[in-house]
């Protein structure tokens, strides 16, 4: 892998805005993301956090703003100036997108092995044995029993499906992963295990990630930095621990103080 240009961020987001008719969903969001950095975007429903994620992941074109990504050559390229072909290629190789509902990010009726191997097949891998071995290895890494390689995710539990989705995304060694509420909808005990896994993987693979969540504990556990969003605006940003331990904005203070203490 090329050494990233350490003078420029992996992702540079400037002035992202999005409206739906009269309603402004996002005002002027900007931030930088550095290689290997995990950024949490925190807010309640309606805060615009998912809108922001979809905009910068090029799934939903914003009305204004720019998103520049440092491609493997080292240059920062404007994502919205890329052709559809280039964007799709990016989405399948250097980027990952983990959906809240794993069924949205998996082929539910195709085996786990094929789910993991698909990106590789799309990139030209033509050796069945190697594909299978790679898939089995990845199942192991996300703590799914490799014996389930031929089972379809329809037969998996929610937690297993989510872990499979992660494997499917990470198999091409992406440098940036978008995650939309990756643990919501899972049982609390399952969530903890998944978070642990995510933390391990992002560290091991030097993954940069943007994790949208309404759960401050997720931010605390996974993220180096965080953004707090309220009604389409970023109201506070900074190092996770600092923001959570010493919130400056009134809304952040409200969020932090509302977390139920065990």
């Amino acid at each position: 892998m090329n050494a990233p240009d350490t003078n420029s961020p992996l992702l540079r987001v400037r002035g992202i805005a999005k409206r739906y008719g009269e309603r402004v969903a996002l005002h002027d969001a900007s931030f930088d993301l550095w290689p290997g950095e995990v950024l949490a975007v925190v807010g309640e429903s309606g805060s615009g956090k998912s809108t922001l994620l979809n905009a910068i992941a090029a799934r939903d074109k914003p009305d204004a703003g720019s998103v520049e990504f440092q491609v493997r050559g080292g240059d920062l390229q404007e994502v919205f100036s890329m052709t559809e072909a280039q964007q799709r290629m990016l989405a399948r190789t250097d980027w990952g997108f983990v959906h809240q509902n794993p069924a949205d990010g998996l082929r539910m009726d195709v085996s786990a092995g094929a789910n993991v191997g698909e990106r590789l097949m799309g990139l030209g891998e033509r050796h069945y044995g190697r594909l299978r071995a790679t898939a089995a290895e990845w199942l192991g890494r996300v703590e799914i029993d490799p014996a389930r390689i031929d089972d379809a995710p329809r037969t998996f539990s929610g937690g297993m499906r989510q872990r499979l989705q992660i494997a499917r995304n990470l198999v091409t060694q992406p440098r940036l992963v978008f995650m939309d509420e990756p643990t919501s909808g899972l049982d609390v005990s399952v969530q903890a295990r998944l978070l642990d896994l995510l933390r391990q993987l992002t560290r091991q693979m030097q993954l940069a990630a943007i994790v949208v969540t309404h759960d401050l504990a997720v931010a605390r556990l996974l993220a180096h930095r965080m953004l707090v969003m309220q009604q389409g605006r970023v109201v506070e940003a900074g190092l996770t621990d600092q923001v959570l331990d010493d919130p400056q904005h009134a809304y952040t203070q409200l969020l932090v103080s509302s977390v139920l203490q065990p």
Binding site: Y20, G21, E22, R23
Partner: protein
């Protein structure tokens, strides 16, 4: 000693003979004339013209006779006939507001300018088999002559135009340059298809299929709270503008059924609440078809109106790819063609898989 089967040709020629016999039926029974079909089975004729896309009652009647009453087969005959006809031009858009009305009803208003005209309809008959019709041509009970109602005026405003005065119903601007619609019989359907193309496809579409799709929209597979704004049955004038003359001349009348379905629309992020429309049009007296078409037209507008596309009737590719009876019937029935070579391959495969299953596990 096995000898390869020959005689496909003879079989076909024999089948023609048998078919002709079957079509004629018992030779003691008087032969049905095309004229009789045209006059007395006119609703079948209307359907064949509509889906056959040819307004020619006599040809449609002929097709029905040739097809021994199989309406879908008759439609096929008419379409095949049409396919190689030379194109002379396009007519002026039909002005259905100026239809000579035999029937005109609206479910949205109790009364309206032009009145409600019941006209000839099965709607309020009781569906009891009338055995007097078994007696050839002799009616035992004289049907009282229909009392002449006041004739509908030559120009009857449309209900949607009345709603339009209040701005309650959506309007559509004519696109710039008023481009001619794509001719689906000349260019293949591509997706996404615009509304004009969709309406063409639906007009030619199989009535049974559209009826089922329309019905599904009323049963929760998409809701659009439909009301019959207006159904008109009558004749409209067909006009063309020959180049040499530069003005419109009438070349005849066409019997038509038109249905405007009115649906409530709660508004979207960009549009205020208003009524939206579904449109249906068919040749002759074909209310079921026109109504079904209008419901499906509205359902297919879901994306355009910002509604979530969840039900099959709202999915363009699903509806428009399967609406044509020729395509559907042809492909379903093609399964009768020999497939033994492919079946041979499948036989090998199944035998092999069974052999493997009995032996080792697949790796």
């Amino acid at each position: 000693m096995y000898v390869a089967v020959k005689g496909g040709e003879t079989a076909i020629l024999n089948s023609y003979r048998l078919l002709a016999e079957q079509r004629r039926g018992n030779a003691d029974t008087p032969e049905l004339s095309v004229q009789q079909i045209r006059e007395q089975l006119r609703l079948a004729v209307d359907r064949v013209m509509t889906e056959g896309s040819v307004y020619d009652p006599e040809l449609a009647a002929l097709a029905i006779k040739q097809a021994a009453g199989d309406v879908v087969e008759a439609i096929f005959l008419l379409r095949a006939y049409r396919a190689t006809l030379p194109r002379l031009g396009a007519s002026v858009a039909l002005d259905t507001a100026r239809m000579q009305l035999d029937r005109r009803i609206s479910a949205t208003f109790k009364d309206l300018p032009g009145g409600q005209v019941l006209g000839p309809t099965y709607d309020y008959t009781q569906r009891l088999l009338d055995f007097t019709l078994l007696a050839n041509g002799q009616q035992t009970a004289a049907v009282p002559a229909a009392t002449p109602t006041t004739e509908a005026p030559a120009f009857t405003p449309r209900v949607v135009d009345l709603l339009n005065h209040e701005g309650l119903i959506e309007t559509h601007e004519v696109p710039q340059g008023d481009p001619a619609p794509v001719d689906l019989t000349r260019t293949p359907l591509r997706f996404p298809a615009d509304r004009a193309t969709r309406l063409q496809n639906l007009a030619r579409g199989d009535e049974g299929f559209l009826l089922a799709m329309a019905y599904s929209t009323q049963r929760g597979y998409s809701h659009s709270h439909p009301f019959v704004g207006e159904i008109r049955v009558g004749t409209a004038e067909l006009e063309i503008v020959p180049e040499e003359l530069g003005f419109a001349i009438s070349i005849g009348d066409m019997a038509l059924t038109e249905c405007e379905m009115v649906n409530q629309f709660a508004g979207s992020k960009t549009e205020p609440p208003q009524f939206t429309r579904g449109y249906g049009l068919a040749f002759g007296h074909s209310e079921r078809k026109a109504m079904a078409m209008s419901l499906v037209d509205r359902a297919l507008r879901a994306e355009e109106l910002g509604e979530p596309v969840e039900a099959p009737a709202q999915m363009q590719e699903f509806v428009l790819s399967h609406s044509d009876s020729l395509e559907a019937s042809g492909f379903v029935q093609h399964l009768k063609l020999p497939h033994y070579v492919d079946f041979q391959s499948e036989l090998e495969l199944v035998r092999k898989m069974r052999a493997n299953g009995a032996g080792e596990e697949p790796q």
